[in-house]
Amino acid sequence: MPTLLCRPPTAARRLVTGAEVPVAELVRSAGAGDRAAWDALVARYAGLVWSVARGYRLQGEDAADVFQTTWLRLVEQLPRIREPDRVGGWLATTARRECLRVLRRSGRETVSQAEVLEAVPDDVPAFDETLARAEQREALWHHLQTSSDRCRRLLRVLVADPPLSYTEVAEVLEMPIGSIGPTRRRCLEQLRKRLEEAGVDVDL
């Protein structure tokens, strides 16, 4: 029995980010100078590129460096992208390579002063949100950050906003499409177990 893979959490949002236009067409139009097509590509994949950088636990300047360089590389390579329909995978691969570059660099240079993960801005709860829900979210965030590298990277990509198609997720993670479901299930199981151990109610 094949496993049902993730369903995008906010499918409706894809409509406002150019998902109805085939991505290959966006790449070609942007390559031909169409700024609106470029903006649509940014809207569609910025969350993905960010999730890769953050999946490597990069922070502050380092995460920004990876994000910026990745988009500059895409601008540079636009006319040369061989498979424009797989630009999501291309961006993720490029971002990963840049993460490794930044990690190598920081391994050589003096380590910048530690920035605390929790310093990421905007933990203001929504207006009518219950305290319990905000606390659950805090706990989820914390336990996601402390998940294994493999699980954190997978889960970050799975919750990228706007969501990616299954095919894109597989390309981005360089995993066979059939193993995403089982890996996702294992990672969620581990996460749920740790949340339960910490006494966090996951069924809000």
Partner: protein, 152 residues
């Protein structure tokens, strides 16, 4: 869909909300990505990095006298670059092969620096801010060539 699939989906949705609140793409970076489009070059050939002493020797520009050597090619044109640490700045010494006079523009996020390569294709650009740069060469008698962005 089984119960556990449904609860997995619910957990993923909760994670998505947590990430959206705790770690959205910073707005300034979104702006950067949109603006990156203005760096698009349509009139220059992108040179390919074929050698980088940073990759082979693993040595970065740490000391005051460190040098990084890079070689690019674009068609028949070769560009050799020496990146020399000069305090917080960088000095770029370059040579075009075949040697030919050219206008050389070093682009960095804060602006550009322009120099002229001599008849042998040699040039020097001083006071380049450390960080992200690329070099654009416009020979008098050949199409322009631009390097990829480099982290200096």
């Amino acid at each position: 869909m089984s119960t556990s699939d449904a609860s997995d989906d619910e957990l993923v949705r909760a994670l998505a909300r947590a990430v959206a609140v705790h770690d959205p793409v910073p707005p300034a970076l979104l702006d950067f990505a949109r603006e990156a489009f203005t760096w698009r070059t349509v009139d220059a050939e992108l040179a390919e990095l074929v050698a980088d002493s940073l990759e082979t020797a693993g040595a970065g520009l740490r000391g005051a006298s460190d040098v990084r050597l890079l070689t690019f090619t674009a068609g028949e044109q070769q560009l050799d670059l020496e990146l020399i640490a000069d305090g917080a700045a960088r000095r770029l010494v370059g040579e075009l092969t075949p040697g030919r006079p050219a206008r050389v523009v070093v682009e960095h996020p804060g602006g550009t620096l322009t120099e002229q390569a001599d008849e042998l294709g040699r040039f020097l650009v001083a006071d380049v801010p450390a960080g992200r740069v690329r070099v654009r060469c416009e020979p008098d008698d050949a199409p322009p060539v631009v390097t990829p962005w480099l982290d200096t």
